[in-house]
Structure formats: C-alpha cells, structure tokens
Symmetry: C2
Subunit: 322 residues, 2 copies
C-alpha cells in the first residue's frame, strides 16, 4: 500500500480510502490510485486488515463429514448465506470425534472467526464458554449442545418423524417393526428411538432394536439376528441415510417393508421406491447461517430454538404389506 501511495504520489491513507471505497476522494486522485494498484498488481493484505479491525469476516463450520451427502448439502447452504453476507467459510470435518471437534473449534477461534456453526459430535461443550462470553456467537445444527451451553439451535423434529415413520408402518399392517439406528449417544438417534418407541407402545420389543455405528458388517449382523427370531420383523425403520443404504444392501432380494429417516438421491429409482421421512438439510443450514448473521448484526435476544418439520414421502417400500 505504501508502494502504491508513492507510485500514485499520494499518502497511504488516500490509497486506503480508495481501496475501501470510502468517500471524500477526488475522482481524479482515485483514478490515479487505481491505476497504480493495477500496475503494481497490488491486493490488500487481509490479515493486516483483520488485525486492525478486529473482525475477520469469516465463519467456521464444523460438520461430521464434508463428504456425507446430508452434511455436504447443509454445508453448501451455509456457504451460500455466508457468501451473500460477504464472508468466507472455514469448514472442517469432525468425523464424529469429540476431540477432533474441539480441536477444530479451537483452530477456528484462534483464527478469530466471527461466528461458529456446529453440528456437534461431543456431549460436552463447556469449553465454548470463554468464546461465547467473549462475544463469538455459535449456532448448533442438527443436534443440540451439551448441558449448560445456551445457544441458538436448528434441529428437526426427530421424535415426531420417527413416530410418523413407525405409525406409517403400523397403518400398513405391521406389528413387528425393527429399528436400526446410530449410537444412542448421538442425540438424533436417541430422539428417533424415543419416537419409535412411543409410537409402538406395548408392541415395543427391544430385541428388534439395534443401535450402533453405521458399519455395514455390524448392521448386517444385527439384522440377520433379528430375522432369525421366532417372530422376525416384517418391517424396518432405519435411523439415518447411511444405515438405510446398508440395510438396503443387506436386504438385497428380500422384499421387506422399509421406511428410512433422511431422503437420498435415487430413492425414487429403486424398486420398490424407498419411503422416507425427509428433512431439509438446505433449510437447516440456511436458517442456521441466517440466525448466526442476525447475532453478528447485534441481536442479543434469548437463544432461539428452531425445530423444522419433517414429512413422509411414500415411494412403495413403506407401503408393502407384512
């Protein structure tokens, strides 16, 4: 900037004014400055600007896996809102690992992101206290933070969705409905189990429940065990997209009623089409980001807790008879 200033024969500050589009610069002078900028290939050093202004115009996003279809769509929605607000997005995958999650958040905070959007992996987020108190807002998406951390959240109606799915299968005559879900420590999995159980009432049978990490071999083993029972399940409720994939592969050939939580590409092209309870990851990400920017522009009201609706999409697999 100094070089530009001397090249244009003006003071440093004038260059700064031009670069930032501040008023009060003679058009002729501005033109000379711009020309010098062009000639020298100058581009403002954002680090210095950040250091001086205290605002980085960046947002940090922590999700489970950038490559997961659900989360990458959510991330994309966050990106769009972030860009629209003139900010840059830093993102990282936690791999469902609380240690990595914390590390990522620490890294983001050291880089002084203006705000955080988090799909939490851990169950304790008290380590966020200092940052929150220091005025860095955070919004949690998909899952709430651990106890004692009161921030904005954007969740979906997990229990309600699970109830819908289960009732749907009940309505089609099923009485033995299995639930294949993720680890119970994951909030969404726990809530979905809850809704499933509530809908089943006294039909609930814990032998028809499997909750574990979505590793194909393990899920398949549990499913086989259930199918070998005296009164095996006639229908499946799968607790997330990845588990639905695994179950579909394990079921290969066998015609069995199935409703999955989370919609996915090609669900309509399988035969039968896969009936799902769909959330809207684009809305979730977008709303979370909007909430964050509302905080960044000074809103200090009490924490908001958005709960998005889900809907059943019938495609055939959920309407199969027992």
């Amino acid at each position: 900037m100094k070089d530009v200033a001397s090249a244009a024969g003006v003071a440093l500050k004038t260059v700064s004014r031009v670069v930032n589009g501040e008023p009060g610069v003679h058009p002729g002078t501005a033109e000379r400055v711009r020309e010098a900028i062009e000639r020298l290939g100058y581009s403002r050093n954002e680090s210095a600007r950040v250091l001086r202004r205290g605002r980085t115009s960046t947002v940090g996003l922590v999700i489970e896996d950038l490559a997961d279809p659900f989360y990458s769509v959510l991330g994309r929605a966050v990106e769009d809102v972030t860009t629209a607000h003139g900010c840059l997005l830093l993102s990282g995958s936690s791999n469902e690992d609380p240690v990595r999650e914390r590390e990522l958040i620490r890294t983001f905070c050291a880089r002084r992101v203006d705000g955080l959007i988090v799909v939490p992996a851990g169950e304790d987020h008290s380590f966020l206290r200092p940052e929150l108190d220091a005025g860095t807002p955070a919004v949690f998406v998909d899952r709430p933070p651990g106890p004692g951390v009161d921030v904005d959240t954007v969740l979906c109606d997990n229990a309600g969705g699970a109830r819908l799915a289960t009732r749907h299968l009940l309505a089609h005559g099923h009485r033995r409905i299995a639930f294949l879900g993720d680890r119970p420590s994951i909030h969404t999995a726990a809530r979905r189990l809850h809704g499933y159980r509530a809908a089943l009432g006294r039909l609930f049978d814990e032998r028809l429940v499997s909750m574990r990490a979505p590793v194909p071999r393990d899920v398949r083993a549990d499913l086989d065990r259930m199918l070998a029972l005296d009164s095996p399940p006639t229908a499946l409720f799968t607790g997330n997209g990845r588990i639905t994939m695994t179950a579909l592969r394990a079921l290969e050939g066998r015609r069995m009623a199935l409703v999955g939580f989370d919609d996915f590409e090609l669900a309509d092209l399988l035969r039968p089409g896969v009936t799902v309870v769909a959330q809207d990851p684009t809305s979730m990400g977008g709303l979370a980001a909007e909430l964050l920017f509302r905080r960044l522009s000074g809103d200090t009201g009490p924490a908001e807790h958005l709960r998005l609706p889900v809907r059943v999409i019938r495609r055939g697999s959920g309407e199969l008879p027992p």
Copy 2:
C-alpha cells in the same frame, strides 16, 4: 499476550516462546506462563501471527459445488491432507461460473492462502499469473487451466475412459450408441466426446450426441428426440454422474443399455445395476493436495501432470443386448 506476560511476571517474548514451544525457557517459568494462559483463557491471535510471519497455513480450494457427491468427496480428501500438514482449508463453490471462480480465487489470495487447489470453471486463468509469480503455488484438478498457465495438474484419463465405455457397448453388440454429455466448453466433456467418437469410428452419428448443462428437462428432451429417430440408439453413454441420474429417470421403465462416466452410491442396487467408468475422487484430491504441499516445501521442479486411470465396473446395465 501482554496480559499473560504481566500476569506471569515475565516479558512478552517469554510468553511467545512458551506458546510456540521455542527452546531456552526455564521449565519453571514455562509452567508459570502456561498457568497464566489457562487462567486468562488466552489463545494466540492467528491474524497477528500471520501478519508478522507472512505464512497463513491455509490452503484455498475452489470446486464446482461443495454439495456435489463427486466434488465433496474430492474436497474431503483435500481436507484430510491439509489437516495432516497442520493447515486449514478455505473452500468455495464456483457454480461453474468463471466470474465467481475468479472472485473466489481473489478472495483467497487476499487472505494470503499459502496455496490453491482449483477445479477450474473458466477457460482463461491468466489472472493467476501475478499470484503464481509471487510464489503462491496452484494445483489444478479434474480439468487443466487455460492456455499459458503452466501449473501442476491432476486429471483422469477422460478420453481413455470414454473409449473403454464405448467399446464395452460395442462389444455387447450395440451399433447405435448415444452420448449425453455436459457442455463442450468443459474440458472433461470435450475429452469424453473425443474418446467416444474415436471408439465409434465410422459408426459415429452426430444426431446421437447431446452436449448441454445437466438440466433434467433438456437432457430428457434430447433423449426423446433421439429415441424418435428412424434408427434410434440401443445404448447410452452418459458423460457424468448427474447426467447419468437424469438419463436413468428419463429412461424409467425402458430397458436400455447404459454405461455412465463416474461411479455413484447405489449404482449397484438399481436393477439392472449401472455399469460405470469409475474415477477415484479421493485419490485425485489427495494427490493434488500432496503435490501442493511438495511445492510449499520448496520443490521448484517443472510442472507435474498426473493422469489417473479409470476402470469399468460391470453391473448389468452395460451388458444388456441391443
């Protein structure tokens, strides 16, 4: 840092030494400093550090769409390598828009990323010259840069893959093979057309070629037009994952031979399974990032051009008879 220093009763520089793990600090002193850091909840301001040191420990990634399954997997691979090298990833979606691409790269450069990984959208990248000359390395993935920009590239064997796909269909008795590809301005699409054409030789018929943005309605219209020909195609070669999806939907019901470029989730569960020419986005992203870090650690050799192999995965749709 100043506060920590006075809290610990030492000089600023000593705190700096402790924070950076520099040698030559008395263990007792270091302990006192660490304790003060803990107590005050101090965390180093990365912007200031960057300003002083000149290196940001960040890498910028420009891809077409963070939410696209192919690119999100590629991006995830880049993230993993970046993290392993202690760096943070900035990423952005270009939406296949050259203007947005350039804007993103400018933003990244203003933030002084140490290096760039780009899946280019535009055809002219001369605007990168100043950055490259200034020592910011760039690696292009999936598609090469425009003319005159000589940087490392990681591409796949597009023409070879298209030849494989076309020959596969020829070997199964097809003579009328249609090609549905992306806009010819996109390098991969052009190369795939080239391979397809080369494999067909005199069987090539331009009425069986459609190249346009993967908008379902348009692709479907072109397909319908071909099917209405006197001698309609008996097989389809689709030029990328999104077009494959569209074609599968358009074909619904109709049994027609199909080979798609790019593998995708559930290709094996459709009936018939979808035969594809598969690339490996994880390797592409990973190798590109490794290449970048090799440059960052001082390698100034001539630009490298990696070409990754592709392979046919037979699943049924490509083996259907005419």
